[in-house]
Structures are given as C-alpha cells and as structure tokens.
Symmetry: C2
Subunit: 337 residues, 2 copies
DNA sequence: CTCATTTGAGTAATCGTTTACGCAACTATA
DNA sequence: TATAGTTGCGTAAACGATTACTCAAATGAG
C-alpha cells in the first residue's frame, strides 16, 4: 500500500523545516546551496511530488483551465481543443475538458464543478444557449468561441465570421449560376449556424433572387447522425418535387449526406446541383467528389482565444478592449461546384 | 469583484457553526429541521457552493477520475470518452480528459498532474508504450483500454479481441477467394494494431497461403493524415507492381484512403480488389462503396471499463479476478467485399 | 572591535472543508 | 424524581501546502 509523501516527510528526512523544503522546491526565498542539494536529493530518492490540491487551496490558484465543449467528436471542436490544450500545456497550465454532449443540465453542472475546482480560466465553445457565467462564485476570466455570454461583462468572443462565411458560400453558388439554392442546416440553435443562415439570406437578397422559405431546411437531428439527417431531408425534398440547383449546407457532413443522396437518386453533382459545405472537415477533402467548403481558420481562432484568456489570467482586472474577434473564413474550391 | 463565500460566511449568516453548515449540506450528522431550513435558505440566497479543493484535501478524495487518451479526434476514442464520462457523471463523479497527442512526455506530465490532483481513478486508453503506473504516488485504481500497464499489479485491461478481429477480417477475405492479401497498417506500435496483425498472420497461415513480408505494409504516418498515409502507401505498392487481390487495413480511414487510391488508378473495388477495414467508423458506413469492417463494441467496452473502475474505487483493496477482459468483435459486411 | 546588514532557516497562520469529541438540554423510563 | 438515552450543535484538529514574521549567526564596513 503506497502512501503519498507530504512535505513534512521530506522536511523530516532532510532535517529541515517544511518552509525550507517549500522554498527549495519553488526556488523562492533564501536557502543555502547545501540545503538545496540535500532536499532535492531526498525528494528524488523518495519520489516526492507536491500535492496540488493543497497548493491550490493555499494559493487560490489551480494552474488549470476548464474547457466546455458540446461534442468532442466534432472535428472542428477537437482541433480547437487540441490546440488550446497544447498552448496552455506549454505554459505549465493543465486543461480540464468537459464534454457536455449538448446537454444544458450537464453544462450547468460542469460549470459549477469547474468553478468549485478553482480553475483559473474558462473557454466555452459553442452550445445551444448563452453561457450562464452569472452562477459562478468568482470572477473567472472567460473566453467564448462561437458563443455568447449571458452578461458580456468582460468576456471576449472569438470565432469565424459566420455571416460572411455563409455569404461567401451562397454568393459563390450564385456566381456559378445557381438560381434556387437550398439551405440545409440542423435545427439546433447555435449562434454560428444562425449567422451562417443570415449570410445566406444576405447573398440571396443582394442578388435579387427569391428568398423562398421552402428552400430553407432546418432538419431535425434527434438521435441520428448528421449524414442521416441530410439523407432524410434530401429524400423528403425530392419527394416534394421541389426544384433546386444548388445546396449550401451549414456543415460538411450534411453536405456529404446530401451529395450521396442526390447520387443515389441519379442527380449529378456538380452538373445538376452544386454543393458547398462548411468547416473544411476531412470528409470534404477526401470524398469523391471532394466538397467545396468554407474553411475556418481553426489555428488562428484557437491561438487568439488562448492568447486572450492567458492575458486575462495573468493580469487580473485587465479590461478587454475588443469584445468580438471575428476571424475571416476562406472558400476552398473543390469538385462539387 | 466577486468574492467566493466560504462555509464560515454561511455559518455566520445563519447563526450556527461551520460544523453544522457542513452537516446540513452533506446531510450527515444531526441537526434540527429548523437549522436545516435556515442554512439552506441562506445558502440559496447568497449563492454559496462548496469549495471542492478544500473538500478534496480534507476528504482525500476528489470525486474525479482522469482519462488519458492519445487522440480525441479519433472516433473510436471519442465514443469511449463520451460514454465513460457519462457513466461517471451519473454517479456524481467528474472526468478530466487528458489528450496526450501521442506525446510520451505529455503523457508522463499528465499522469503526474492527475496524481497530484488526487483523482480517485484512472482510465488509460491505448498509446505507444505501456502506461507507467509506477511513478504514481498513491495506489490509484486503474483500468486500461487497449493498453498494457508496466506492472500489471491490480489493473484490469479491457478491449476488443483484436487478434480475433484481424483473424475474422482476413479469413473473410480468404473465404471470398482472395489469395494475396495486403495488410495495411500505420507504423505506430500499439498493442491493438499488433494484435490485429497477429490475427492476419494466423488466418493466412491457417489457410496455407504464403505469408509474403512484402504484403505487410507498415506505413509511416508522420505529420500526415491516415487517408494520406494510405494513399501514399498504395501508390507506392502499385508502382512496384506488387500483385494483390485483397486488403486488410487496420482502420477504416486507411481502408478509405486505399480504396480511393485504387479507384483513381482504375482498379475496381470489390471486383479486382476486396477491402476490409476496422473500427466501424462513420466513414466506413457512409462512403461509396461502403466499407466492410470489423465493428468494435464501443458501448460494451466503455461500460465494462467504467464498471470495473467504479468497483475498484468503491471497494479499496479489492482484487481483480479477471485481468484481461476481451470483448468480441463483429464483422459487418458492406460493399467492398 | 562595534554596529549594521545580509543570510539561512524555523514558527505558526492560513486556505476552506470535514468530523471526532464533548457537552448541554431535552425526552423517556421506571 | 432520578437516571439513562437522545438530540442538536459547537470546538478544534486535521488535510498539505505557502509565506509573513522572526531571529540567530555570519558577514561587512568603518
């Protein structure tokens, strides 16, 4: 049965006080070279490592950030996570990733738990509603990605310019001579997809095309994958004999599902219908035909979010000068248009 | 500036001692109905929530488990994570997910950090080497998934029966009349892929086919995606004019990459070459042709792992009776065979 | 040699909980 | 009316670190 060694044990073994051991380990305060050697050798020999719970309690600082994410299996999210986590790791800060599975209750619970764990910062990625930072017991620095806070007191919001992304995608289809463009999206209510839809509408209006509500499909995605959601929606649309010559899908898996369904119905892409997706997910790159899509600059978003959060954490009381940081998107032309 | 309330504040506000507040909040010990009401109302009014760092320090129990995973963007892993996390969430235990990005140093650092955070249990998923549980300062219950511990003292190892999976895949190709089956795998050294290869060899030998080392491709996957890895390997194989009529790829993205590359080279699947993948990743289901694959029972693996860990956590000192829990795989027939 | 300064290290308070222990005030029993 | 048992709650000691205060000893300046 292993027993964790405490700083007291090390103090006793090195013949000094706990204060001295602490000073040596944190290289903070005064001690002679000899005591240093002595303490370090004891630490090494007996394999002591500091109890970070006690350290956190005393310092009121956990050297840890929390990250709330709706779905780690989403490629865009997992890239963000990986990069942000890596950024903070290099600074000696560890990351607690909380996967809420899009469950609002779970999100609340995790928010509370992170708060109680004294995390030094918070990154909140996407989600159905605003993030409710009001229930936090302390003023924790927060950065949102593709998400709004409830009271945007001193919270930065980083994300792609989704309106412009949606606009670019739609405009591109229009330029390719599409007249009736189907908008395919899931029925969840994230700010990012709403923005993309706004971009779509903007482009349609600007081109003086008819904004046909029938062409806007908010597909229910209960318990089924995005692919299947798209499949079902397109089958349904085809059965209604609704005419369309272009599809803007608000993510690549929807686009992919749509394309496969069109194929199955002997409708050729891009000849009869052109398709644009969103996210530049691997699937868009590797499928045949490869999917024209709107690329989000994940690296840039991750870096900006991490940078801002780190600054907020380092300088308590710092005020954010820019609340919204919009990162431009990029259209990637591929075979579906 | 918000200041976190402590139990002392609540005690003062309710006119009782901290002990009583604690007893009420944990419903543990004796107190009158009136004090209960009083304390709870104060708690509600002032929005107190307990500091779990202090609680953890005092209880020597964090109600938290750690999970070490090489790559959260892998679909199999992210399913495991989601399910295990959900299992423990329901039991009031939160999960810290650590993404090591396949970096051994990072893994060590995170292991140490989780140890220092006093996690009550540990799940270690896959990885290049054995998990080095010897550097832990306490006896933390551990369950490995597709992974070996360094000293398998009292550690359960859960996972698919990869040998059998590899065998099934290969045997199936053989039954479909393939004579020269290419094995396509990444050059990383995980136990699971090694096992799959063993299964391949077993099937080949059993059928008295020639075990041609040229047919075993361990593709280098440095800095490129699995798809590209497969692409490169197959191009290379084709340029060598190596003959083959079947491919067993140790995961679905490799299979997918291989299929697309064959197509590009006017080799038809399944007519000229039949392909079997592994994992039953979404891609295998949704691509055309859909990929025959070996399904891993993620739900079952996740549940078993979680169950065992939870038991070990609940009954300290409990001995594991079964060290290896092998979950059978299932072949899913699709269009590539 | 004297007095001021620097150096090294110990003492004890603190962070916010939980809980063993003790004790007064009730309640119940005979 | 004693006495035993129960109930409600407060006191204080942990948990394992950090750090503000001390203070003796060593060092330096004049």
């Amino acid at each position: 049965m292993k027993k964790q060694l405490s700083i007291k044990d090390i103090a006793k073994l090195s013949g000094v006080s706990t204060a001295t051991v602490s000073r040596v380990l944190n290289d903070n305060g005064r001690f002679s070279k000899e005591t240093r050697e002595k303490v370090l050798s004891v630490v090494k020999e007996f394999g002591y490592s500091t109890n970070s719970v006690a350290k956190t309690l005393r310092e009121q600082k956990s050297h840890t950030i929390g990250m709330i994410v709706p779905d780690i299996s989403n490629e865009f999210f997992s890239s963000l996570i990986t990069q942000i986590e890596s950024y903070f790791f290099d600074k000696g800060i560890s990351t607690i990733i909380c996967n809420t599975n899009k469950d609002a209750e779970k999100e609340k619970a995790y928010l509370k738990s992170l708060d109680a764990k004294l995390v030094d910062g918070l990154i909140c990625i996407s989600g159905q509603e605003e993030i409710d930072e009001t229930q936090l017991s302390r003023d924790i620095p927060i950065v949102c990605i593709d998400r709004q806070p409830k009271v945007s007191n001193n919270i930065a919001i980083v994300g792609s310019d989704h309106v412009d992304g949606g606009y670019k995608a739609t405009k591109y289809l229009i330029d390719k001579d599409c007249k009736r463009i189907l908008l395919l999206t899931k029925d969840n209510n994230t700010t990012s997809s709403n923005d993309r839809i706004d971009g779509y509408k903007k482009a349609i209006k600007e081109a003086h095309l008819q904004l046909d509500p029938d062409l806007v499909i908010r597909a229910s995605s209960k318990k089924i994958s995005k692919f299947e959601t798209a499949q079902k929606s397109i089958e349904e649309v085809l059965s209604r004999d609704l005419e369309f010559d272009g599809i803007f899908a608000t993510n690549d898996w929807l686009a992919y599902g749509a394309i496969q369904t069109l194929k199955k119905n002997q409708i050729s892409v891009p000849e009869e219908v052109k398709v644009v997706g969103f996210d530049n997910d691997s699937i868009s790159k590797y499928t045949t035909p490869s999917i024209t899509t709107i690329h989000q600059e994940v690296n840039c978003i991750a870096e900006k979010a991490a940078d801002i959060l780190y600054q907020l954490m380092s300088k308590p009381g710092m005020q954010i000068n820019e609340h919204y940081i919009n990162v431009p998107t990029r259209l990637i032309e591929r075979e579906t248009t």
